[in-house]
Assembly symmetry: C2
Homo-oligomer: 129 residues x 2
């Protein structure tokens, strides 16, 4: 009896999975890349303030994963831009999720508290292919 | 008896975990970002050739994860660079893993087969903080 219930459930789960896959194909994530150039790149305090500010953004529900970074000590080749100070990478489900993040009060507070720290910011928004 | 073995094993596992954490703190990943500007951005064939070439790099063992992307249709704000054509993001354990990738035959073959496709490439190498 237990075996029958198990097999029945497994079959039902299999069908549901197939149907789910057919109805909702897995979305390609949206990657939101941001690079910051600080006004005072030699101020560790200001760099830390920006890093701390960026980490508050992780609380915004449409962000699936966030990476905050600084320059790695890789080989200095001509194509490698080493002029920036702090990087941020976020994963969203889609453009709508990224728009919710843009308008979210936590993001607005971050911009209010930290935008005086940078002199330049460059954003790249990419969809996986 | 079984309960005792279980508790003993759990305690041992706990101690091993604590020791493992102390001896080998989790490394912060190295993120290798690359943005490509194609010579012929309106050629879908050439864009696909670059995308396919980038995907071959996933076979290099020091790459933990790879994302190949194209421009997302997010809001066109002043800070968003929408002039590029194809993006690539790779996760490595460290600088050494990234160096192995740079010198790997699969990467060399990719450069040989695809470098005629782009007119500009910009690389950002970041370590998580």
């Amino acid at each position: 009896m237990i075996r029958r219930i198990f097999i029945g459930s497994a079959a039902l789960f299999g069908v549901a999975s197939i149907m789910g896959f057919a109805l909702r194909p897995k979305k390609k994530p949206l990657l939101h890349y941001v690079f910051f150039w600080l006004k005072n790149p030699h101020s560790d305090a200001e760099k830390q303030q920006l890093i701390s500010g960026l980490k508050t953004l992780a609380a915004i529900p449409t962000i699936h994963k966030i990476h905050v970074g600084v320059l790695a000590s890789t080989e200095k080749r001509e194509v490698v831009d080493t002029s920036w100070d702090v990087s941020e990478l976020m994963f969203f489900d889609d453009e709508a999720g990224q728009k919710i993040y843009q308008d979210h009060p936590i993001h607005q507070a971050f911009a209010k508290n930290c935008s005086h720290l940078w002199e330049k910011v460059v954003v790249y928004d990419a969809i996986d292919v």
